[in-house]
Symmetry: C2
Subunit: 801 residues, 2 copies
């Protein structure tokens, strides 16, 4: 018990400008955005996630403690059922809440909605890995207290989260009662009508075992249908003045430590809670044994002490930030925002090979906590370069669920494997097949993530094992699904691409090009590892067939308009009537039927533009410029996945101010709650997209099948941009100003190096020192192509922020 008391640490307060770029701050002014703040202040380590609720639990937006993979199962009911429609869905549910510390002052509960809030500030510290809170509150009866807390979810100890909390009188003595709860089946708000929100299950947990010992205790519960068990232990460390006699009360759903007494002026009550979590299938570990495990983990954390946990946070983050930090000079708010983005990606990515990264991480229950293509499509393209083992872990999780994907393909009467559009445990949980099962491109996104990871790391062992099997089974899906026309072209009919305002289209170009990449990648890998391929039943004939299909993939192109088609016939479809669409009509999916959306040239999210980002070599520069302009005019960005690829392509074709504004939209998606959905959890894909917008957009980074190139070009708003990448074991640092680009390997020997391309020139970068090159002029791309009326991103580039 040698932890430093909270009050002895420097007050949070307003720091220096540089400090502020590492902190997210919310004050009493933000109290009406509770759910949003809970998501932004969510802490996690990939296994355990605590939403940023107030210590006292109320008011709340949506309380939640999420364990990666912990879920309940519910039946899906269809008004008109169909063959192979998923009959149940797995839905994330909250584990028992160990963060609660309720306070009564003179018999009145601390509630920031009552009394007088003299100060209320919470800070997420991106380097410390904690959320700090400082509240000064006068109760309705006039008793003043100062409450402070520091929370963390341990980056060093997987099952552990902890909070140190203190209360002291502001002036005169106050009578206080403190209840530190571990609470199962906490009440949650009703389900929203928005189809993108989570389904809510009331009282999902059944108590199996409870035990208390001194101030500490443990609760074990199980779910009703998903056959899962969860155990949570809490260990308390109390520093209280004399006269506070703790009492512990344990019921099936609640373990409560109560401390009551009088705090005189200058006295302080400090309570530290160490919580440990585990969940398993019910048949894996008996309740008492699971209880024993979590008690041991909570005890060990307490024995090590809260200061040690704090130190562990900082140490882990210091290592991570060495590669992950992005310096963006010229816009302090976006500098802060990009760090916030990367922080949450690092938190979410820390799951090991048994788990993956849901679309919301562990920050909320949006999309029922499901994993979507966001992971391979957006998050892994960042983690591959910031922390490659995290990308490998997520890919191993996909590989672990190949059996279900093969079963699903067989059920769908398809060949190979078909991964689920939405899932928690590997099985398809999507309840609307035109925008679920039909989104077959997810399989190519998985393959693409494999190829990217291998290309960036040279991890041939992974490629020969899990990687190859993922590539082969997805290639088999495409080969069996595709159709050879009479004229020898290879077609993919009736699929849904990334743009969810289209569905069941023929030859979606994104899907076609990604399938081509998948087929060729599988063929290359099989030839590089022929024995492993033979064990999967791959023979040269199959490889040849993949290559033939890849070579013959159909490319829908409109000669008259001189643009590629998002899918066959797209450019012949009716135009959307933007003149008759009001601002209140967005997002369109809440105001127009799919019948209208699907048949018209209105794009929810980058689709063809995303194809140009992912498969840059498939398009000429002219084609990219024409395509970008055509689709920019029709893309409404009703999806948070859209701004980033648009930013990357806008930068590539030279519209740097537009690119910057799109980057700003992506990076502020959650901090500014642009989509009004942040309360359901953070949009990890958008946060990842912000990094991609900077690095691929302004850094011009491309990694096309193992060749790393940069075509950097900075918008006027950025004075300097610096970022690092992991590349074949090295940390490559790139620093860009308007004048020059600097490439260096700060950690490498002078003799070792990597090859990169700068605006078409190959460079060898070694540990011997930086290589610099001038930034070429960006050719004038002409006037900025129009966005749909009212849908251009907010202008930040022009300085009106």
């Amino acid at each position: 018990m040698h932890d430093t008391p909270i009050a002895d640490r420097p007050p949070t307060g307003q720091g220096t400008g540089d400090d502020e770029a590492w902190r997210i701050r919310r004050t009493e002014a933000d109290m009406d955005r509770l759910a949003e703040t809970e998501s932004i202040f969510a802490l996690g380590n990939g296994w355990v996630g605590w939403r940023g609720t107030l210590d006292e639990g109320r008011p709340y937006g949506m309380p939640g403690t999420y364990l990666n993979g912990f879920h309940e199962r519910r039946e899906l009911d269809y008004p008109e059922d169909g063959y192979a429609f998923p009959q149940f869905s797995d839905t994330v549910i909250s584990a028992p809440n160990a963060a609660l510390i309720r306070l009564w002052v003179g018999g009145e509960p601390l509630d920031v909605r009552t009394g007088t809030l003299r100060t209320h500030e919470r800070v997420l510290d991106l380097r410390a890995g904690v959320v700090e809170r400082h509240t000064e509150w006068i109760s309705p009866a006039g008793h003043g207290v100062r409450v402070r807390s520091v929370r963390l979810v341990s980056l060093a100890r997987r099952p552990v989260a902890a909070v140190r909390w203190s209360v002291e009188p502001l002036d005169d003595a106050v009578e206080v009662r403190v209840c530190a709860d571990l609470l199962a089946n906490e009440r949650v708000p009703e389900r929203s009508d928005d189809p993108r929100a989570a389904s809510v299950i009331t009282d999902p947990l059944t108590a199996e075992y409870r035990h208390s010992d001194g101030y500490d205790g443990v609760l074990v519960h199980r779910t009703g249908h998903s056959e899962q068990r969860v155990a949570v232990a809490v260990a308390h460390d109390v520093h209280a003045p004399d006269g506070f006699a703790p009492g512990v009360d344990c019921t099936p759903d609640r373990l409560r430590l109560t401390l009551a007494g009088t705090l005189r002026a200058g006295e302080r009550l400090q309570l530290t809670k160490f919580a440990a979590y585990e969940c398993t299938p019910v048949d894996a570990v008996p309740p008492t044994e699971l209880a024993r495990q979590v008690v041991a983990e909570a005890d060990a954390a307490r024995a090590e002490g809260f200061d040690a946990l704090l130190a562990g946070q900082r140490a882990a983050l210091d290592v991570a930030w060495r590669t992950a930090d992005v310096q963006l000079d010229g816009d302090d708010e976006l500098q802060q925002a990009i760090r916030f983005s990367v922080f949450h990606l690092l938190q979410a990515g820390r799951a090991d090979g048994d788990r993956t990264i849901p679309a919301k991480g562990l920050t909320g229950n949006g999309y029922d906590g499901h994993v979507l293509w966001d992971t391979e499509g957006y998050v892994l393209p960042v983690l591959t370069y910031l922390d490659p083992p995290l990308a490998r872990s997520a890919l191993r999780w996909r590989h672990a669920h190949l059996p279900e994907a093969r079963e699903r393909a067989a059920e769908l009467r398809l060949t190979g494997a078909s991964f689920p559009w939405r899932t928690l445990g590997g099985r398809e949980c999507s309840g609307y097949w035109p925008a679920g099962t039909a989104g077959l491109h997810l399989n190519a996104d998985v393959a693409d993530a494999v190829l990217r990871y291998v290309g960036a790391t040279g991890d041939e062992e992974f490629l020969a094992g899990a990687g190859l099997e993922l590539l082969v089974e997805t290639a088999r899906l495409w080969h069996g699904f595709g159709h050879w026309s009479d004229t020898g072209t290879f077609h993919l009919h009736g699929v849904t691409g990334p743009d969810e305002y289209s569905a069941l289209a023929d030859d979606n170009l994104f899907t076609n090009l990604m399938a081509r990449r998948n087929l060729r990648g599988a063929a290359d890998a099989a030839e590089r590892h022929p024995e492993a391929a033979a064990r999967l039943g791959v023979d040269p004939a199959e490889v040849s067939a993949w290559r033939a299909a890849a070579d013959a993939v159909f490319i829908p192109y409109d000669r008259k308009r001189g643009v590629h088609q998002q899918s066959a016939g797209f450019t012949e479809q009716p135009e959307w009537d933007f003149a008759d669409t009001s601002d209140d009509d967005y997002p369109l999916l809440l105001h127009f039927p799919y019948l209208e959306l699907y048949r018209k040239q209105v794009v929810k999210q980058a689709d063809l533009v995303l194809a140009m980002q992912r498969c840059p070599g498939e398009f000429t520069a002219d084609e990219k410029a024409r395509n970008f302009a055509y689709y920019e005019a029709r893309t409404v960005r009703d999806s948070s996945l859209s701004a980033s690829p648009q930013a990357v392509l806008a930068a590539e074709v030279g519209h740097l101010d537009l690119a910057y504004d799109l980057f700003a939209e992506s990076v502020l998606q959650d901090l500014a709650d642009l989509g009004d959905k942040t309360g359901d959890g953070l949009h990890l894909a958008s946060l990842a997209g912000a990094w991609l917008a900077l690095v691929q957009g302004f850094g011009g980074m491309r990694d096309d099948r193992g060749v790393l190139s940069f075509d950097p070009r900075l918008p006027a708003a950025i004075d300097q941009l610096a970022f690092s990448l992991r590349w074949h074991g090295h940390r490559l640092r790139v620093t860009l100003t308007s004048g020059e680009a600097r490439y260096e390997l700060p950690d490498a020997d002078p003799e070792t190096g990597v090859e990169v391309w700068h605006h078409g020139e190959p460079l060898r970068v070694t540990g011997a020192g930086p290589v610099t090159r001038p930034m070429p002029e960006v050719p004038d791309p002409g006037p900025e192509p129009p966005s749909p009326p009212g849908r251009r991103p907010a202008r930040r580039s022009a300085g009106d922020r």
Copy 2:
């Protein structure tokens, strides 16, 4: 009380061959097909429908008493909801069952599954309009009884149904107890997993009022959510030997008349029940008043007597059969079957202008009792010629629901009116929009039915009123929905045609051609009734716009293959792998995902072929032959709507044996339960399709915009085919043999007449006498085009029946 007792009428027994063609008979051999028999023996008058359950209620398949429009409302739950997805569905529910007469013999209940069934026969008499039953049963303890009954749903008295029932000892005296029940909330079987079945609501009725008076009584109930009230009164007429003291017992859900005593040899107990039904919205009539109405109706029926009801049946049917009968010499089974088909159409069609004709009539609860496009697409094209006022009534029902259709169009952001794909009360109840809301062709089917009715009757008053408004609002739908291409063609994107193994296709040819017909029909009608049109806001510019769109409708055609495309690109889609599809894989929708079905060239039901039937002038004879062959090879007939249009086109292109086999499949759909779904109710569209197959197929009848023509051609299996049509107030009788075609107006003055075309030659047919013409040779159409393997209809044409 002067009714003739049952036993004094001639026994049912086996009649003459001619009689048998007017009767449907089921014996103990059919006892394992209870639900199917209940549908086949269903009696109705368009307002009240009694399924053909056994008098004693058990065993049953699915008991049901349906009142047209009487329903409950239930919420629809979607795993992923979407804009304008219907949030509730109206579902037909059973009114209280007044048909029940339970019998105990020596304390043992009459149950045909126990004891010994010496005789068990039930007969549907198509001329008498009754179901007769004759059972001789020996109880397990050895007591023998003969039970007879005659049931009817009155064609003369709208709210009334009645049953006369008797029991007598077979040999020795027996002790009997008879319970005649009126039973609400009767138990029904669980819902099936088949998506095409009905949803089942348990205990939908809440008792509001009950009253008994002597042997008679009344129950009034209301529904929980749909705000409807139903009242049923029963009046009894008892003929019993001395010693039978009746007792009446009335509980909220059951009114029971009990008769107990001993029947000696030669004695008989006879009970006649007269039931009367009404349902209304709950705010229309109070419970006691509704009770008074139905009691008065039941009393009046009893006062008139059962024999009078029997006479009323026969009189109504005699009138109807004069036009409706079809004589088919050469195949006794199909002769019987076509009469069965027409009988059920006449029963179902008898609703007046407040109601319409659901897809199952009132014979079952399949499709939740909903009205689909079956009505305008199949049933009205028959009723228009057999009994035009019935067609007008159904169209008036559509017109009465124009307000909801306009609201729906506005909700869908469309112009004009959009009628619901499935409905009971006018609102969309379809829970799967790609095969519901997207089936916009329903609106053109409604317009087509209007045009056909007006063309056949010359009913300008209807056209100037409801007809015009229906035409105008549907034309406005198409005009707003359509898209003008750069090259001046008019397109309908993203719709679903009749074939439900395709969805959301561009330029479905059926839809395009029917929309053209709709637009031109509206333009013609508006010009014929300019003042009425002006009141609807139609001006010459709008009419011109309709005509321009109609003229420019895009016709998808594959030049290489020389066939029309079901929708744009259809013939480029992957072929279905029939070689790898087993017999057990049908119907495909239960074994393959829509992902596979939609993107491949596999056709559930006639679509392009139906277009050739409905819009014959849009295709040359050569095109019809090539199209028919192409689509025949890809049409699996997983829908009962398919055989009829295929038969019509097979006949037109000269494949008369195939046409005959398809006709047989259509006409036997329910009598042979070919789809194993007859238990849910009869397929009225298939029954109507059977008539169309004969009259349009072999009769070669076409009615293209008011011109009535015949190109008759008989298959070898038919010696003579005779049918009648109502045409502009006349009854036109057509009699076809292999040698000649005879046209006559048997009821007309010698001076009045009509013009018809016979194989391209105009004829004037008057009351002066028949006009005969030779039947031309049918040119050899070449070999019969193949059907998908295993999917050719059973060969009946070759005589192997």
